[in-house]
């Protein structure tokens, strides 16, 4: 007489999953003064905005999962968002075996284990996609805040460079500056 038995296999795996997104762009800084002077002005402005200088000469600022890096020499900006999570993934499968016909217990267990590994890989992939989406959403949100901030920085650098250039050209007779609109009028005597 054939006897059926049930085999249940559980598998769990803890993985460090990451999702990241990054965009790179270039600040449009006018070449009013020599590049090294413009770089110095940009560096000064960025430090005032909370950026710290790295050993390679770039400036960066971390804000939650997002890191903004500016290279003051090339005016390149990179905004990177990285989300990491330690996830425990579990899966469970059952099957039936018979003691007289069909594959043996060992073989059934191995088959189940293979299926469980696939299940866990799929779950990990799904989780990675979720983290990826989260990283992209955070990046998009960050870009909305960063765009006006960097525009302001570029505007300030341009104004400061214009003032220095004006001083090099002659005596400044009148200087009208509007912080809100960013407009600057300089009258110089050459």
């Amino acid at each position: 007489m054939s006897r059926a038995y049930r085999i249940t296999v559980k598998e769990s795996s803890t993985r460090e999953l990451k999702g990241s997104d990054e965009i790179c762009t270039q600040l449009e800084v006018l070449e009013i003064l020599p590049p090294e002077v413009m770089a110095e002005l940009l560096k000064k402005e960025l430090i005032q905005k909370g950026y710290t200088e790295n050993p390679d000469g770039t400036l960066s600022r971390e804000d939650g999962n997002t890191t903004v890096t500016v290279n003051p020499k090339t005016f390149e900006v990179s905004v990177k968002s990285q989300v990491g999570e330690e996830v425990t993934l579990e899966s469970k499968r059952e099957t039936f075996g018979y003691d007289d016909v069909g594959p043996g217990q060992q073989e059934l267990r191995e088959r189940l284990k293979k299926q469980l590994d696939d299940d866990i890989d799929k779950k990990a992939e799904h989780e990675s996609e979720r983290l990826q989406g989260q990283a992209t959403a955070e990046l998009e949100e960050k870009l909305c805040d960063l765009q006006p901030e960097l525009s302001e920085v570029v505007n300030k650098v341009t104004r400061e460079a214009l003032k220095q250039k004006a001083r090099q050209l002659g005596n400044i007779k009148e200087l009208i500056e509007d912080e809100e609109t960013g407009s600057l009028t300089i009258k110089i005597e050459v």
């Binding site: 997104d21 990054e22 965009i23 762009t25 600040l27 449009e28 006018l30 900006v77 905004v79 996609e129 990826q132 989406g133 992209t136 990046l139 998009e140 870009l143 960063l146 765009q147 960097l150 525009s151 570029v154």
Partner: protein, 357 residues
């Protein structure tokens, strides 16, 4: 006593040769596709070699059709190109000496025709490919052949893997988006007969790019758009670098001319290129932006052309390149280069999520 000369009938060729010659006439644009495609798809056992008569007819057809093609494409135009660093005006046969206009075919066109007649290109175990380098005339023939065969997507798919199309600079320049992999070496295009061919084909290349760019608005797949744009970018960059190295900006005139036509409508937006993309696209923002930037590969080349114009402005009257630089400045003005380049730049900037200034 007089000897009567017997009237000679049409030259006799075998069935295989007859098909081969008909396919050749189709490939050089002298026979409609509907009459020839059944021959392309048919399989016929290939003879060990072709008869003298067949080879003579094939040579005659190739010689006449390729010259006619070049003349019709743009050789007839009274145009200005650089000859020995000086702008020279006239039709192609007035500008260039005969030795630079002589087309010499190698064995590859006939070998290709034999393969195409014997095999069904979409279903064959004979993966024949051109073994060695192609002559300038061979490259022109394969461009003409691709022009005709491209209409059949399955055939085109089978052909893009072959060296005589994939490594052919003329085919890659006319149909950059159809190919994958690294761009071919364009350095050879700026010497000898290839110069004459490039000069003649300028209007053809401009038309091809206009058509290709207009079709981009119909591309729905993000992956396909990115792949096509990246290949186009690589190809155009390689070509423009080679043109700059050879000091022949006039041979890149088609890039300027096509962009001038494409960017002429006042209300042109990004939708012209990316309007057909379906859904949200890739999950990563970086990939979405890269895809859209890739779609603009062609107008982005105006940045390079504008840098040539700036260099040309700085060439002094007594410098060697003065005459050449004047020609590029004239081309730039004729194509409203400044306006067109500003428009292209504005389009690219719209894709920058951190646009400042």
């Amino acid at each position: 006593m007089t000897t009567a000369i017997a009237p000679t009938g049409p030259p006799a060729v075998s069935r295989f040769e007859y098909n081969l010659l008909r396919i050749l006439r189709f490939l050089v644009g002298q026979m409609p596709a509907d009459q020839a495609m059944n021959l392309v798809y048919a399989k016929l056992p290939a003879p060990p070699c072709l008869s003298r008569v067949c080879v003579r007819i094939a040579q005659d057809t190739l010689a006449k059709a390729s010259v006619l093609h070049l003349a019709e494409s743009g050789g007839w135009r009274r145009d200005r190109f650089l000859v020995d660093r000086r702008p020279t005006e006239g039709r192609i046969w007035e500008r260039l000496p005969l030795e630079l206009r002589t087309l010499a075919f190698g064995p590859s066109p006939l070998a290709f025709l034999m393969w195409l007649t014997a095999e069904k290109p979409t279903d064959t175990s004979n993966r024949w490919d051109a073994p060695g380098g192609l002559t300038a005339a061979d490259e022109l023939f394969f461009l003409m052949a691709y022009d005709e065969l491209k209409a059949e997507p399955e055939v085109a798919q089978a052909l893009v893997e072959k060296h005589y199309f994939r490594g052919n600079p003329l085919v890659r320049l006319a149909y950059a988006g159809d190919f994958a992999g690294a761009a071919p070496n364009f350095a050879g295009c700026f010497t000898g007969t290839r110069v004459a061919i490039l000069e003649c084909l300028q209007p053809v290349f401009a038309q091809r790019w206009i058509r290709s760019e207009r079709a981009k608005g119909q591309i729905g797949e993000w992956k396909r758009m990115r792949r096509q744009g990246e290949v186009e970018l690589d190809t155009l960059r390689a070509f423009l670098n080679a043109a700059q190295d050879a000091r022949r900006p006039d041979l890149a005139r088609f890039v300027l001319a096509a962009n001038s036509v494409l960017l002429a409508p006042p209300e042109l937006g990004l939708g012209f290129w990316t309007g057909g993309l379906q859904g949200q696209g890739p999950a990563r923002l970086a990939d979405r932006i890269e895809t859209q930037r890739a779609a603009l590969a062609f107008p982005r080349q105006l940045e390079t052309l504008q840098s040539w114009e700036r260099q040309a402005r700085n060439v002094g009257y007594y410098e060697e390149d003065y005459a050449a630089s004047q020609l590029w400045k004239a081309d730039w003005e004729l194509a409203r280069g400044d306006t067109v380049a500003a428009k292209a730049r504005a389009l690219v900037e719209r894709l920058d999520p951190l646009r400042t200034g």
